[in-house]
Amino acid sequence: MAYNLKEVAKKPERFTGGHRMCAGCGAPVVVRQILRALKPEDHAVIGAATGCLEVSSYLYPYTAWKDSFIHNAFENVGASVSGAEAAYVAMKRKGKIQGETKFIAFGGDGGTYDIGFQALSGAMERGHDMVYVCYDNGAYMNTGIQRSSATPKYADTTTSPAGKKIPGKMQVRKDLTEVMASHHIPYVCQTAAVGNMKDLYEKAEKAIYTKGAAFMNVLAPCPRGWQYNTPDLMELNKLAVETCFWPLYEVIDGKYIINYKPKNKLPVKDFLKVQGRFKHIFKAGNEFMIEEIQAEVDKRWEALLKLAGEEA
């Protein structure tokens, strides 16, 4: 059946309202849409790394999760969910479990690119039948906007502040989607909640129902860290994609597929200028910073086109 947002949105919510995520946060939008891709009859065991999503969704004695949920610590959601999946395999073999259970781990970029990187890599390499979803907001937002290896160059964070001498974060961001593609697992994708969220939904469905390990890197803007007006969330997602800052693509059994090629690729400054964390790079004399970011985006986009066998 062709994707239809109206129909998909009618499915029972598996991540309920009443959670405490901020207005204008990208993460709950991403989580709800991914869980909609589960078949209604399937149960899920969902894990979350310590972070905004966890502390806002399961504050004792309230839980926003209709499925089973586990939080262990910051750096180990990959391992925790892989353990639950292993128990499922063993118990199913013994005839102790009926029906289908799917396994989904959520981590922010801090819990995924950085501190949870080892547990993620291990879980994916071992090939557990699970999906790891990184909701990437490009900094440690839960602790108050500290830089991570996912933070873009020149972004102003509380541990890479834009000062008089140093203009924000001085390193380019790690390309985790590529690192995960290099694990040669069956399914890797990069996506965002854009438009009617078809791309996100269909990728979630593939990731969940592909046998083996799957990784999704999903852009999840943060109104506190990025400093934008909360109603602009979907606009930011769109600009990230239209500027090719955040290309939508997937790697299926090693084959690269670019899911969206902007007809008119927008300059990255369109994406940067609506975010307070880049305010300093728009000051006179800092034009080279924007040019540098543009060059980096172009370089990575061209490399991706090449991987997908497409012309620029």
Binding site: V45, Y58, T63, G78, S82, A84
Partner: protein
């Protein structure tokens, strides 16, 4: 009929794990416990267990995967030593507070630094406040027996706590000794099925595990955890009694060796207790009234029982194969002296020896130094030094 065999302490633990047939074993290699997952993965490869073996990329992930597996509703086990246990540290506390009766085979080894692969107790002693039940074993037989009892203890509804079974690295883990094994069917019947009330994989009753738990409820949850550890003592004794009826091997909270008329005793964990028993026999032959107390259960600490037992002696030496670096005594010493004080036992003179750190060999002549000192104290009533290092060059 019990099966007479000969095997190392590591193999004995692996065989116990095979007979328990858990749902998940997640482990990472570290000397000297590596053999346990090695033997076990062979059982998996040969199809003699139903277990999923998860060859994780670190001990942190080993314990994390055990938490996921046990919370899912399965039985999860692991094995480790020293730095491996230290890398699990964070998750040990989470396993205990989440009330997940995971079982861990701890093959005691010196915790770095400096790097040293040999035996002392600095690894498990450091984990003593993590909320895990800790059982100690003198030899391969006790390591095997304790491991067979661990699930029953931890999974008891009044307990629901993880259990760590410790034995001495190399000294017993690699030494081949005679052992009596139980038949597989008897182990299966004794250990039983694990059917927890709450599990992630119960699709009809989904649960959430591991909340953000703030001022309104966290304190009560910690109190419940403390109660579980208090409840564990009775359960350990009940399970041990049942095990005695099955095997004829009797286990309590601690073992007393030739203490009935003793004037002095040494308190010693694990394999060195075996050496001390030999020295006790020699001294007894000379008419010297010496005895030994070997704790089996360190967590929960048998405060009442050990204070009552020690009240009968003139002098006590508590032997610690780990130092607390509190400039006053090792962990076993401070537990025992605080137990005695709390229970109003002021009679015996109590001294502490730190011994065998980094695997330094502990010989009969070292133990003789301890008993000679105790007999001297019993005679004179004078203690010149409480906190001592045994046999160290200084």
């Amino acid at each position: 009929m019990a099966i007479r065999e000969r095997m190392s302490g590591n193999e004995a633990m692996a065989v116990a794990m095979k007979q328990i047939n858990p749902d998940v074993v997640a482990a990472f290699p570290i000397t000297p416990s590596t053999e346990v997952p090695q033997y076990f993965s062979q059982f998996v490869a040969d199809g003699v267990v139903d277990t999923e073996f998860v060859a994780v990329e670190s001990e942190h992930s080993a314990m994390s995967a055990c938490v996921g597996a046990q919370a899912a509703g399965g039985r999860a086990m692991t094995a480790t030593s020293a730095n491996g246990l230290a890398l699990m540290w964070e998750v040990l506390y989470i396993a205990a507070c989440s009330r997940l009766p995971i079982v861990l085979a701890c093959v005691n080894r010196t915790l770095s630094g400096p790097l040293n692969i040999h035996n002392d107790h600095s690894d498990s002693m450091g984990a003593r406040d993590s909320g895990w039940i800790q059982l100690y074993a003198e030899n391969n037989q006790e390591a095997y027996d304790n491991l067979l009892m661990a699930n029953r203890i931890g999974e008891h509804p009044d307990v629901m706590l993880p259990v760590m079974v410790c034995q001495d690295g190399f000294i017993t883990s690699h030494k081949i000794e005679n052992i009596e094994l139980l038949e597989d069917d008897k182990v299966k019947a004794f250990v039983g099925e694990y059917n927890p009330k709450y599990k992630l994989l119960d699709k009809n009753n989904p649960i959430s595990v591991g909340p953000l738990d703030l001022q309104a409820h966290c304190f009560e949850h910690k109190r419940q955890q403390a109660q579980a550890m208090m409840n564990a003592k009775k359960v350990i004794l009940e399970v041990s009694e049942e095990f005695y009826k099955l095997t004829g091997r009797k286990y309590g909270l601690f073992e007393e060796y030739k203490t009935d008329d003793a004037d002095v005793v040494a308190v010693i964990l694990n394999s060195t207790a075996g050496t001390a028993k030999y020295v006790v026999d020699q001294y007894r032959a000379q008419g010297k009234k010496v005895g030994l107390i070997k704790p089996r259960v360190f967590r929960p600490f048998p405060v009442d029982e050990i204070a009552a037992a020690l009240s009968r002696f003139k002098a006590v030496a508590v032997m610690d194969k780990a130092d607390s670096f509190n400039a006053a005594g090792g962990p076993l010493f401070t537990e025992i002296t605080s137990a005695m004080f709390a229970k109003g036992v002021f009679g015996p003179k109590v001294i502490n020896y730190i011994y065998g750190l980094g695997g330094r060999d502990v010989k009969c002549s070292d133990i003789e130094v301890v008993y000679d000192k105790l007999l001297d104290i019993a005679c004179t009533g004078k203690v010149d030094s409480v906190y001592n290092y045994l046999g160290v060059r200084e």
